[in-house]
């Protein structure tokens, strides 16, 4: 069975840990608990009959005082950039981190942008134009909600397919 490392990165409190918790353990908590360093979770997925084990590196969020150490993304097979739809600036942070990752490990690694907190759509600062601009850059985007689970399975399935060189699911 293939083992594939996937790094989840983004600003603090965008919902990286919640996405992993929803996807791996089917649970969600409203309470925000900051992540220090990295927590690694596993999940086995099936891509067109081929089993792969995802190693999900839930990496601490970037904040004003600390940036993501690039040693964490060494050897990764995919990057998931997580953006909080209710905080527009987290999109900029995601792409700042992405540019550091590109410098550290190259820009050929499969990448997906998740616009999270879709259940709070009425509070979103991220606009359709923002999402269109990301798509225009050739990056797959999906809208997710760890709270109600929407888009989460599809997002991880898509990144798994991309890592195996297959077409991702249709973008949300």
């Amino acid at each position: 069975m293939y083992k594939k490392k996937v790094c989840m990165v983004g600003e603090f409190s965008v919902g990286k840990t919640s996405l992993v918790q929803r996807y791996v353990h089917s649970i969600f908590s409203e309470k925000y608990l900051t992540t220090v360093g990295v927590k690694i979770d596993r999940k086995e997925v099936d891509v067109d009959g081929e089993k792969i084990q995802l190693l999900l590196w839930d990496i601490q969020g970037e904040d004003a005082f600390s940036s993501v150490p690039m040693s964490y993304v060494k050897g990764t097979s995919a990057i998931i950039l997580v953006v909080d739809g209710t905080r527009g600036y987290t999109l900029d942070t995601a792409f700042e981190i992405k540019s550091h990752i590109d410098e550290a490990v190259g820009d050929k690694i499969p990448c997906i942008v998740l616009f999270n907190k879709y259940d709070l759509l009425h509070q979103w600062e991220i606009t359709e134009e923002d999402i269109a601009a990301v798509k225009a850059g050739g990056v797959l985007t999906m809208c997710t909600s760890s709270k109600d689970g929407s888009g989460v399975e599809d997002a991880f399935e898509s990144i798994s397919r991309m890592m195996m060189g297959k077409n991702a699911l249709a973008a949300a």
Binding site: V36, G37, V38, I40, Y89
Partner: protein, 360 residues
């Protein structure tokens, strides 16, 4: 250090390494385990298969064992046992070495601080969002006009900076329920911000109870110092009215101190697409902040260049010399004690038909 007595070594070891467990994996260049040392059980690492590469057995080593890309340092990795661990990977003597140091204490301290800072940052964002619901469009519109007027390479301009905050707010917030604090803060800011907008100012920053505004960037009907002082008086007036209502409800009284300074500053626009902000740097910015520190409850303190540029009538400023931190010589200041009775002609700013409806 080999010759040091054992008790000294122990102190140094504890100080440098901490009291957490330590483990060491010795691997051959293909990544297969050769020897295992230390307290690996504390990290949740049981028996490893010596015929299988360690990165296939241990998730945290996946993709990490390339001898040409050493050393690698991975801080605060949560191990299978749940222990937060600093991992160092080296290549030495045709071997790969994976050193594991348990850092639960350090991680938990870091977590406490990080949680507090991030919570504060989220609160600030939420607070800005609430404000924007009431005033955001106008504040944002003014800010955009200000940003658009600034040379993208930065420039130098003579501007008037104002800092205002609630006296004793920290004590109030420490002794009050969070809901009460945020309600008071929102009411306070909703009283303060229109004063800046009506006087053609740009809100530069709101940090907690501190408001920083810039005057002289946007066209107005008079100069920046006049607008800044008028805005201050409107603020003090608004707070006075607010307090009358709060007294009736037995709520804490909010008292404001304001500092203003005028002079040449370096002006630029910093930030990303979603977080553009005007940045003013210079001695007069620091001076305005210091003057706010000097101002007592319901006092406005301005520097001499601001005072000299005023053409307002009936302003009862008192001149003083003060020593300020960061300033080598005493600074001349002008202090206005807000007293509604002594400022009757500005007691009703709504009488001026030009206020708040003109950009030029």
């Amino acid at each position: 250090m080999e010759n040091f007595p054992d008790p000294v070594k122990k102190v140094l070891y504890d100080r440098l390494v901490g009291k957490g467990p330590i483990g060491l994996l010795e691997l051959d260049l293909s990544g297969k385990p050769v020897s295992l040392y230390g307290d690996l059980e504390s990290f949740g690492i049981g028996d490893l298969d010596l015929d299988v590469a360690a990165d296939a057995q241990l998730d945290f080593l996946t993709g990490m064992l390339n001898p040409t890309a050493m050393p690698v340092e991975l801080p605060f990795i949560e191990m299978p046992s749940g222990m937060s661990t600093d991992i160092h990977i080296f290549a030495e003597n045709n071997r790969l070495w994976v050193l594991l140091i348990g850092v639960d204490d350090k991680s938990s301290r870091q977590k406490t601080v990080q949680q507090k800072v991030n919570d504060m940052s989220l609160t600030h964002h939420r607070q800005s969002r609430i404000l924007n619901q009431y005033l955001g469009e106008e504040v944002a519109r003014r800010l955009k006009i200000g940003i658009d007027s600034v040379d993208s390479n930065g420039e130098r301009r003579r501007l008037t900076m104002m800092f205002a905050d609630i006296r004793g707010f920290t004590t109030f917030s420490e002794n009050s329920q969070p809901e009460e604090v945020f309600e008071a803060l929102n009411i306070y800011l909703r009283a303060m911000i229109p004063a800046v907008i009506d006087e053609h100012g740009v809100i530069d920053k709101i940090i907690g109870d501190e408001v920083m505004a810039i005057f002289g960037m946007l066209p107005g009907r008079t100069n920046g110092p006049n607008h800044a002082v008028l805005a201050s008086i409107r603020m003090l007036q608004a707070i006075d009215e607010l307090n009358r209502a709060r007294r009736k409800q037995n709520l804490a009284i909010l008292q404001v101190g304001i500092g203003i300074a005028t002079g040449p500053v370096s002006l630029g626009v910093l930030g990303s697409r979603h977080r553009k902000s005007i940045t003013v740097i210079g001695n007069h910015v620091n001076l305005a902040a210091r003057l706010q520190g000097v101002a007592g409850p319901n006092q406005l303190v301005i520097d001499h260049p601001t005072y000299n540029s005023l053409n307002l009538e009936n302003q009862n400023f008192t001149r003083k010399m003060v020593e300020l931190k960061g300033f080598s010589a005493p600074v001349a200041i002008h202090l206005l004690e807000f007293d509604k009775a002594s400022n009757p002609e500005i007691g009703n700013p709504g009488c001026d038909p030009n206020l708040g409806n003109s950009e030029g």
